[in-house]
């Protein structure tokens, strides 16, 4: 491949483009998504719209299915042979709506464009700089001369540059937990994703590191479409543009961040949401 990988990526679609008209503000649409592991369903008929350039927060307890939704967006479930997934997931990638769940898809390219940061920082066992340059040179394949600039840009975007500037060649494992997590964020950003998935990115971190990550996320909003998972209503209030509350494998409620005010805990909120829903159903409407 002599052709610049970046151009290739922008021109080509991942699979089959979809021509249907969409709401201009959206970057993703999930319809009737269902996922099961070993025959046990964990998601039932999830519908979700993902607004473009906004931070969508999936809120819920562990086991409620929020991470499963997240992993459907970059087809990470394909890594688990006991999983089954159905329904439609359409994403706006490279300006084109694409069906990423039904039709054949270039999975590696999809995963580059839909970046992901995990719950616990999983840096590669190598130097700080190589954590960014290795995936970059394997997927986007920019010319060597650009590599350094791209790494620096991504580290600055993740608000990490000042802290690691002088130890780029030290092992990444020497960084603190919070720094490692921001390194993972920078690593995803370096691949120029359009959508960024964040799986409880602060749950393994202390208060200060959480603050640093949250600040970074706020600054990324607008440039990227963000989908984050959290179990902390406070975090949702601070960061989210829209919130989807998950319970028992379904979307129990959708709301704005301000609607979360007044609930003492996630538990209280989910209970009242589900109670409201039940009485709504019981009323026969």
């Amino acid at each position: 491949m002599s052709k610049n990988r970046l151009e290739y990526g922008l021109q080509a679609t991942l699979g089959v483009p979809i021509s249907a008209e969409r709401d201009q503000d959206l970057a993703g649409q999930i319809r009737k998504l269902r996922v099961s592991f070993d025959g046990t369903p964990v998601l039932h008929q999830v519908d979700l719209d993902i607004p473009k350039g906004k931070l969508t927060m999936l809120l819920g307890f562990s086991g409620s299915g929020k991470t499963t939704v997240l992993r459907s967006l970059n087809r990470l479930h394909d890594c688990f042979p006991n999983s089954r997934i159905g329904g439609e997931i359409h994403l706006l990638l490279g300006g084109v709506w694409q069906d990423i769940n039904g039709a054949p898809v270039d999975l590696t390219e999809l995963r580059r464009r839909v970046g992901m940061v995990f719950q616990t920082p999983n840096v590669l066992p190598t130097s700080v700089i190589r954590n960014l340059s290795l995936p970059l040179s394997l997927t986007l394949r920019p010319p060597k001369s650009e590599l350094q600039d791209r790494v620096e840009k991504a580290l600055r975007e993740a608000h990490l540059w000042n802290e690691v500037e002088h130890r780029l060649h030290r092992p990444a494992r020497e960084l603190s937990g919070g720094q490692q997590q921001r390194l993972c964020l920078a690593r995803a950003l370096a691949l120029e994703p359009e959508i960024l998935l964040l799986d409880e990115p602060t749950s393994s971190l202390d208060f200060r590191s959480t603050e640093a990550i949250e600040e970074t996320l706020v600054s990324l909003r607008g440039r990227y479409t963000l989908v984050a998972v959290s179990h902390d209503p406070g975090q949702a209030q601070r960061l989210a543009d829209t919130v989807a509350v998950f319970a028992e494998g379904r979307v129990a409620a959708r709301c704005g961040p301000n609607d979360l005010q007044g609930y003492a805990s996630l538990e209280a909120m989910i209970r009242s949401v589900m109670l409201a829903e039940r009485s709504f159903n019981d009323s026969g409407l």
């Binding site: 990470l76 995963r111 970046g115 290795l134 394997l138 997927t139 995803a188 691949l191």
Partner: protein, 280 residues
């Protein structure tokens, strides 16, 4: 009662450990006359001719190194390739049975590899390279097969650890399986690779039966890879089986001591690698 049982466990444990020490003491004691009688030079010569009083084992040392080195040269890259195949490059339908075959290979009697090679490999090499076909080359090819599972399973164990930490992260970065294995797992498993090489080499040096049956057993310094050679291990077997006068025995114990010291060194190296692994 409690004390008695605990003592029994301790006796067994310490006794088992002392077996290793006993081996070292025994081999040293039996090779010692070489030093006291000033025969060290004869043993470290290149001529083996017990009737003329020359008991040089250098040709056998070279024979062992040729076969073990050649076998590792083949089996290490192949084992690496198989590991990569088993951990994501190969499709599941192929990887699962192949893993079972590699595990099964650890239990296959060495004598059977040599037995089959006598009828299938030796005649082929005889036609291609000339000579009798019983050569260093035949033996090292078979030993390569013998040590492949050792190498594969050692590296695979390391990959398995890395897999838990890094698999999803690398997949989510959009790396292909080959990229994940070659650029992320391999460099991270560097110590495992060295350990695999040492273990494979050790297993190759320790093999007796393959070398005995198909390496040709010539006692001169190997001149070509298609020539007949004798290893330290098969040398011990051949000389003892032939019942030469006791003059030759000392050199056999020296050969045994050499093999044992090699294992000792290899294990010290493995310890060192292991401690480095833990500290990172």
């Amino acid at each position: 009662m409690e004390r008695v049982v605990a003592t029994l466990y301790a006796v067994a444990g310490i006794g088992a450990g002392l077996v290793g020490v006993a081996l070292l003491v025994f081999l040293t004691a039996y090779s010692w006359p070489l030093v006291t009688q000033g025969h060290v030079g004869t043993v470290l010569s290149t001529t083996w001719n017990p009737n003329a009083g020359s008991f040089g084992i250098v040709p056998m040392i070279l024979g062992s190194l040729t076969i073990a080195g050649g076998a590792v040269l083949i089996a290490f890259p192949a084992g690496l390739g198989i590991c990569i195949f088993l951990n994501g490059v190969g499709p599941r339908w192929a990887a699962r049975p192949l893993r079972a075959v590699v595990e099964l290979m650890t239990g296959i009697p060495t004598v059977l590899y040599a037995f089959v090679a006598v009828f299938l490999l030796v005649p082929v090499l005889r036609n291609i390279a000339g000579g009798s076909g019983y050569s260093a080359l035949s033996a090292l090819l078979v030993v390569a097969v013998l040590i492949t599972p050792t190498i594969v399973l050692t590296i695979d164990g390391r990959f398995e650890q890395l897999h838990g930490q890094l698999y999803l992260a690398t997949v989510a970065l959009g790396l292909t399986p080959a990229q994940r294995l070659a650029w992320v797992y391999l460099p991270a498993a560097r110590n495992g690779l060295i350990a695999a090489m040492i273990l494979g080499f050790g297993r190759a040096v320790g093999d007796t039966v393959i070398a005995l049956m198909i390496a040709g057993n010539a006692t001169h310094v190997p001149s070509s890879i298609t020539g007949a050679v004798r290893t330290l291990t098969s040398h011990i077997a051949l000389v003892l089986a032939a019942d030469t006068q006791s003059g030759a025995y000392y050199s056999l114990f020296a050969a045994g001591l050499l093999l044992f010291l090699f294992v000792l060194l290899a294990n010290i190296a493995l310890r060192y690698i292991g401690s480095k692994e833990r500290s990172t």
